[in-house]
Amino acid sequence: MQQRETPPPAQAGQARPEGFVRFADVQKTFDGETLVVRDLDLDIRQGEFLTMLGPSGSGKTTTLMMLAGFEVPTRGDISLQGKSIKDLPPHKRDIGVVFQNYALFPHMTVEENVGFPLLARRRPKAEIAMRAAAALEMVRLGGFGKRRPQELSGGQQQRVALARALVFEPKLVLMDEPLGALDKQLREHMQLEIKHLHARLGITIVYVTHDQDEALTMSDRIAVFSNGRIQQLATPRQLYEEPANVFVAGFIGENNQLAGTVVAAEAGGCRIRTSDGSEVGATAVDPLAAGQGVLLSIRPESVAVGLRATGRQNRVSARLLELIYHGDHVRLRTALGGSQDFMIKVPRSEIDGVPSVGETVTVGWDRRDCRAFLAG
């Protein structure tokens, strides 16, 4: 298993059949008053790794459970490969599901757990044993078949759950925060492992998480959920570099937000006056007109400090309030543009240009790294 093949690069450019899974105008309410999922339209492509990312209560898990068949949409339709599955009971959907707490059957051995989907499909005993063993081998748990799930570590239990959801070769596998119970190191390891399995088996995976790092590292596309709606559906890179709205900008990665007013709107860009009076150029995300209030969003790592700020399109002076050491980088908390906690991230290699606390220094960033959203 050492010489595992590396996954092919994300085939973003390649055309894939659209609408392998399709949510059409789906709505869900539990109490008849508040909508947990609203106006959901979503196409999931065959073979892609799509992550639903969002804070708890954003509707991502409910969406997944509707797809699995455990929740019924109150409006709209869900189809798989062109056929509506809205009225199909879960056991007829042929969708593998991995649950947050694994949901392994404690009264069965690992082998029986993994063989269960095949037993349910009335496969002959010999075939069940063979395929269960192969599935366990695939998750590197060969030889663990006779044990009970309780005797395994969290990571091993997770792999059993994975093997069980894959053993019947479903075209679609759903994962509901499957790594939530693992510690950080194991999580990162399992993230890679799941990603490799995805690449190797060519299955479609819909993955739910509230961990943005997990979403960014694993996914082909990410759907950011908030308030029952998809805020943005994009590749990890687009999501990080071109967030579509204030929520996404704030939720994905770290962002400094500055309040300001539009001085002038130009094609694709704009001039903004921040609350302390300095004027900066920004990329307009929403259509803007002069006089409108906006929120500027700038990532801490796109800001250059001191001499390195020379040549940046926006240059302002900032007073250094605090310096926080992080090992591979240093964080500067500065007063800038009316904000008292404007964070700047400086890599360890550029630490020499950093002034001491209390000093004022020129910082700068480029227009494309500064995105202006209509305040609202």
Partner: protein, 419 residues
């Protein structure tokens, strides 16, 4: 782990090992002392109020001290007799002396009753002989006694006295299983028309098994529903389950007697609904006993099962159906096996409690629905045959223990959850 072992070994080499062990023992000793101190009052209470009385009671099943006490000379004289033919003259002398003494202390009635248990007719024999003791005068004891009652000249009566002359006797325990000792000492069955207890035990176990099965049929869906419903509704339903639990058993049973009688509400409702044409006999028969006992014992089944079901995550059944299992398969292969510990605990509780049921069958049952406890009460309160009562109790207890052992072998006590 390997590191720990290494460190431990090193500390022994350093000479700290012995000290460490001693300190550990000391620390643990304190812990142990505290635990024992906390348990002691409860253990003493159990020993004094439960184990000791039960032990004393069970001893009555074999206690035969009455014979050496009331027939000290006869039992001594018969010790040397081989049981064949008639006993030697000394035994007749001894019997005469014992009867005379018994008449004086007015203990003859007790002796007559005790011997009559072992052999019907002894009451009359002993009491009649006692009344005619004056006629003996100065004649030899053998001649006089045989003249008073010719039965004193027959081997079997003497053989019974000899058999029952020890301070302990298997008589009651044997009688409780419809067995007796022949004069030759062999154990044999009593005459079919006298047989009673084996059937009684079978009936007791059968009724208990039926009640357990009914509790399972009614309790399993109830516990399942309770485990699924939201907490607010569950609490309300739980109170409904618990109310019979909190009501006096006599009150509950009397209520059933009222409900089930021929002109009672149950028959009334069935008649009114046109389901039956004439009242069903529900009282003084098996149906009444099963209905009332099931009702009384149902909470004991539901509570342990509920706590087990509550602990099964919903994701389990969801996972199973997402893996392609039909709901029936999900239940059989995934859900039910995980509830077995609760079913086992509930069934065991109900069955064992049902074995000892007395009031309910006594009130709503007929003559053929009485269980072992009814006869225990009868022997204790009315015929004052405590030996027989204790023997029945002993067998019931032994049977319960055997079942319990079998059960723990089959289900595994470790798996069982009582709450």
């Amino acid at each position: 782990m390997a590191e720990n072992d290494g460190a431990g070994r090193r500390s022994v080499d350093d000479g700290y090992g012995q000290d460490l062990k001693r300190e550990l023992r000391q620390a643990e000793r304190q812990e142990k002392r505290r635990a024992i101190g906390l348990l002691l009052p409860a253990l003493l209470l159990v020993a004094i109020t439960f184990l000791a009385p039960i032990g004393l009671y069970l001893y009555r099943a074999i206690d035969n001290a009455i014979m050496p006490e009331l027939m000290p000379q006869t039992t001594a004289a018969l010790a040397a007799w081989d049981g064949a033919g008639l006993p030697p003259d000394a035994a007749y002398d001894a019997l005469l002396a014992d009867l005379a003494a018994g008449k004086e202390t007015q203990a003859l009635g007790r002796l007559a009753r005790r011997l009559n248990y072992s052999r019907t007719g002894f009451r009359e024999l002993v009491l009649g002989t006692g009344r005619n003791l004056a006629a003996v005068e100065a004649r030899p004891a053998r001649e006089a006694l045989v003249e008073i009652d010719p039965r004193w000249g027959q081997n079997e009566w003497w053989a019974t006295i000899k058999q029952e002359s020890g301070a302990i006797t298997p008589f009651y325990l044997l009688a409780s299983l419809d067995l007796e000792r022949a004069p030759t000492g062999e154990i044999e069955r009593v005459a079919p028309e006298q047989a009673l207890y084996v059937l009684l035990f079978i009936r007791t176990f059968w009724i208990s098994a039926c009640v357990t099965a009914l509790c399972f049929l009614l309790g399993y869906p109830t516990a399942y529903a309770l485990s699924l419903l939201p907490a607010r509704i569950t609490n309300l339903l739980m109170i409904l389950v618990m109310i019979p639990f909190w009501t006096s058993i006599l009150v509950r049973t009397m209520a059933w007697a009222i409900m089930l009688q021929e002109s009672g509400p149950v028959n009334g409702a069935l008649l009114w609904a046109g389901i039956i044409a004439e009242p069903l006999p529900l009282m003084f028969n098996r149906a009444g006993v099963l209905i009332a006992m099931t009702h009384v014992l149902l909470p004991f089944f539901i509570l342990p099962l509920y706590s087990v079901m509550k602990a099964i995550p919903a994701a389990q059944t969801r996972a199973a159906s997402s893996l392609g299992a039909h709901p029936l398969l999900v239940f059989c292969k995934v859900y039910f096996p995980q509830t077995v510990p609760g079913v086992a605990a509930g069934a065991l509780l109900v069955f064992i409690l049902a074995l000892g049921y007395y009031i309910t069958p006594a009130i709503v049952g007929g003559q053929d629905d009485q269980m072992v406890s009814y006869f225990i009460a009868l022997f204790t309160n009315q015929t004052i045959n405590w030996g027989q009562a204790a023997a029945l109790g002993a067998w019931l207890l032994i049977a319960t223990f055997v079942l319990f052992a079998l059960y723990s072998r089959l289900v595994g006590l470790g798996k069982m959850r009582l709450a």
